[in-house]
């Protein structure tokens, strides 16, 4: 067919269609929706889920802490002061009367004449004023430059009035500051191990699903084998096998890989399933018949089709990793002190007597619950929004 023929071509029987679009969307948004890409449609649907949006904001806040925990910390997390053990939490007050002027009540210590231990009480009458962007201990921002500015701190950093938002532990370390560092470790472990899982899963599941045959058979059997291993005991055995003299960073990466190693199977299965069903889709066949290369079919047609689902599943997998890390560390077999993670912090709360004395030691647990909840809500929201075409 030549171009001349084409341009002169005008269909006689069928007038160019001018009928309103038969779309599934309301008439008014028609034009906007018509040219909306898949990601836009997903975002529009996700946005409707208020709970998921709020959870996403919570997660963003968590990850800001991950980037600069020091900025949010009020004290050096390693600074021990045995005399200041088990200081209770101070409530943060934002208003002094009607003026915006944050303060915390002062802590007063008294030696118990019977046990001879220092006991601390909150003295609501004495106010310790709080200032923003105060100077404190020195740290490096993302390893780039050094600063000593912190989000909050006592008005006079030289004074003896320290703030202990979440109290102190048995060694007098500031729980709030330690939690900031714990957040960094725990949230990173979750994220990194899921990213590793996704890489393993997409790679192996993709190979299994796209090429099929004996490769598929082997990978399938491997997944079955890994899935029939009892997860928690094997995790424990693997972490117990880590040499005791490894540095904290080494342990951190080892734990991440161990978590990912067992976690990828679920994602791998899902990817395989998607590949298998996509292989049967007409639009994939059409691309094949058009002469597209395998690489193009996979990257242009197949992967984009399940990417949103994989993101949703990964989001739902992160909390599982976080809980696993926390549990392992809590049992003393995960992240090891002096590294700080939520699980390491919770180890301090293992003893019921200590817990009764200092219930604030459970606060990292609250952080775990909030983070996991937020991930689940975001993941559910994404999953519901992931398929705007309702297949």
């Amino acid at each position: 067919m030549t171009n001349d023929e084409m341009t002169s071509a005008k269909t006689k029987n069928d007038p160019v269609e001018e009928v309103p679009l038969g779309s599934v969307f309301a008439a008014k948004a028609e034009e906007r929706v018509s040219v909306a890409s898949n990601w836009k449609l997903v975002w529009w649907r996700f946005r409707k889920n208020k709970l998921a949006v709020i959870s996403a904001l919570v997660l963003i806040a968590f990850y800001i802490i991950v980037l600069v925990p020091d900025f949010f910390a009020t004290q050096d997390p390693e600074a021990t002061e045995a005399k200041l053990a088990f200081i209770p939490t101070q409530g943060l007050n934002l208003f002094d009367g009607t003026n915006f002027s944050p303060w915390v009540p002062a802590v007063v210590g008294k030696r118990n004449p019977v046990t001879l231990r220092m006991e601390f009480k909150i003295d609501e009458t004495k106010k310790v004023p709080i200032r923003f962007f105060t100077e404190g201990f020195k740290y490096k921002v993302l390893g780039l430059f050094e600063t000593n500015i912190h989000l909050i701190g006592p008005q006079d950093p030289k004074s003896a009035d320290w703030i202990y938002l979440f109290g102190t532990d048995r060694l007098g370390r500031d729980q709030w500051s330690r939690m900031m560092y714990g957040t960094r470790t725990s949230m990173t472990v979750g994220l990194v191990s899921v990213i590793l899982s996704v890489i393993f899963g997409v790679l192996l599941g993709g190979i299994s699903g796209y090429f099929g045959g004996w490769l598929d058979l082997i990978i399938q059997r491997l997944i079955e084998l890994l899935q029939s291993l009892p997860t928690i005991p094997i995790w424990l055995a693997m972490t117990a096998a880590l040499p005791q003299d490894w540095r904290p960073e080494q342990v951190f990466f080892a734990i991440t890989i161990i978590l990912a190693f067992i976690g990828w199977t679920t994602l791998g299965r899902e990817v395989r399933g998607r590949f298998l069903s996509l292989r049967e889709e007409d639009f994939v066949l059409a691309a094949d018949l058009a002469g597209c290369s395998r690489f193009r079919i996979i990257t242009r047609h197949m992967v984009p089709s399940f990417m949103s689902h994989i993101i949703a599943s990964s989001t739902l997998a992160i909390p599982v990793m976080i809980i696993s890390e926390t549990s392992l560390s809590f049992l003393g077999l995960g992240i090891r002190p002096p590294a700080i993670s939520w699980g390491v912090l919770l180890q301090e709360a293992q003893n019921i007597q200590t817990l009764a004395l200092a219930p604030w030691l459970l606060s990292p647990g609250i952080a775990v619950i909030i983070a996991v909840l937020a991930f689940n809500l975001v993941g559910d929201g994404l999953r519901d929004a992931a398929d705007p075409y309702g297949h």
Partner: protein, 329 residues
């Protein structure tokens, strides 16, 4: 169907051998062995043992042999029904594990029944009363249940009981029954204690199962066979129970395959926190002390329980679903 079960049973020994290799490799992977840490412990306590004694101990446990010989020796004793000797306790592992295994299984089964007894009705109610107040309530409960690590839950319960009532809710028995031989009273005592750890253990699973049941049932309620049953004039209540509920539960049966094993191994953490005398804390200690035959034996038992759990679920699925029973996988 029968062929399928036989096939699975034949496969079982192969899987166990494979797992035993993985397990053995894992437990003896850490640098050093039990003796090194044992000697170190002794040394820090001020006493010491001489070379000859060390050599004797090494020979006794076969630690002077290369890894594969140690493995074969261990396998040989296992094939005789003996799980080997614990290095730390100097007692046969079979003896150490015995009762603790019973308690592990009892706890897991208890948690399992609580899960199903709660989750199925809750899921059905949520699906048939979509967007009702109770549906939302279950949803909130489910999210919290899934989000709370069970050791956190255990800690919180223990703390509440301790600080408000001065109660200690740990352990599976009252003090007088801990060492007692099995008797009717001891079982009753166990039942008095087991439900709380069982709830703690099962809560996340319950939350998840409720959500899955709700989603499955909602799917089934849209199927044409529901319309045709309704068109027969069947009452809504009877209809829901006879058809969609039955079909919504079927796929859940296959979740038993991973849920039961998860309970077996999940009880490890709860047991450590709540001081329950099952094999969990024993494994933890064996792992940290490099008591390799004990750790290996317990890990192998976990593997065995996992495979059996899967097998049970496959058989159950075939029993409830004629499509699987008659097509025969």
């Amino acid at each position: 169907m029968l062929r399928f079960i036989v096939q699975r049973l034949l496969l079982l020994p192969f899987l166990l051998i494979l797992f035993s290799i993985i397990v053995f490799w894992l437990v003896q992977a850490p640098p050093g062995d039990f003796l090194t840490s044992y000697i170190a412990t002794l040394a820090s306590g001020g006493s010491s043992i001489n070379e000859a004694q060390v050599e004797a101990l090494k020979r006794q446990f076969g630690l002077d042999q290369p890894g594969y010989v140690q493995y074969l020796l261990w396998m040989e004793s296992i094939s005789k029904g003996d799980l080997g000797l614990s290095l730390e306790y100097q007692r046969p592992n079979t003896e150490l594990i015995g009762e603790r295994l019973v308690l592990t299984i009892a706890l897991a089964l208890f948690a399992f029944f609580i899960t199903w007894a709660v989750a199925i009705p809750a899921g059905i109610y949520s699906a048939t009363h979509q967007n009702s107040l109770l549906d939302y309530f279950f949803a909130v409960l489910n999210y919290i249940g899934v989000a709370t690590p069970n050791f956190m839950l255990a800690l919180i319960l223990m703390w509440i009981a301790f600080s408000n009532f001065g109660l200690s809710i740990t352990g599976l028995f009252s003090p007088e029954y801990i060492q007692a031989p099995w008797s009717g009273e001891r079982v009753v005592d166990l039942l008095k204690h087991i439900w709380l750890p069982a709830i703690v253990l099962g809560i996340a699973g319950t939350a998840r199962l409720t959500r899955v049941m709700r989603a499955n049932l909602l799917d089934e309620l849209n199927k044409p066979y529901v319309v045709s049953a309704r068109a027969k004039g069947l009452s809504e209540w009877k209809l829901v129970w006879k058809y969609p509920v039955r079909l919504a539960i079927n796929p859940l049966v296959s979740t038993i395959g991973w849920y039961l094993p998860q309970l077996f191994s999940g009880s490890l953490i709860v047991a450590t926190v709540m001081n329950l005398q099952n094999i969990g804390p024993l494994l933890l200690r064996a792992l940290t002390q490099q008591d390799m035959y004990l750790a290996g034996s317990i890990l192998l038992i976990y593997c065995f329980l996992t495979i059996v759990g899967t097998l049970i679920s496959d058989v159950l699925l075939a029993l409830v679903d004629p499509r699987i029973r008659m097509e025969g996988v």
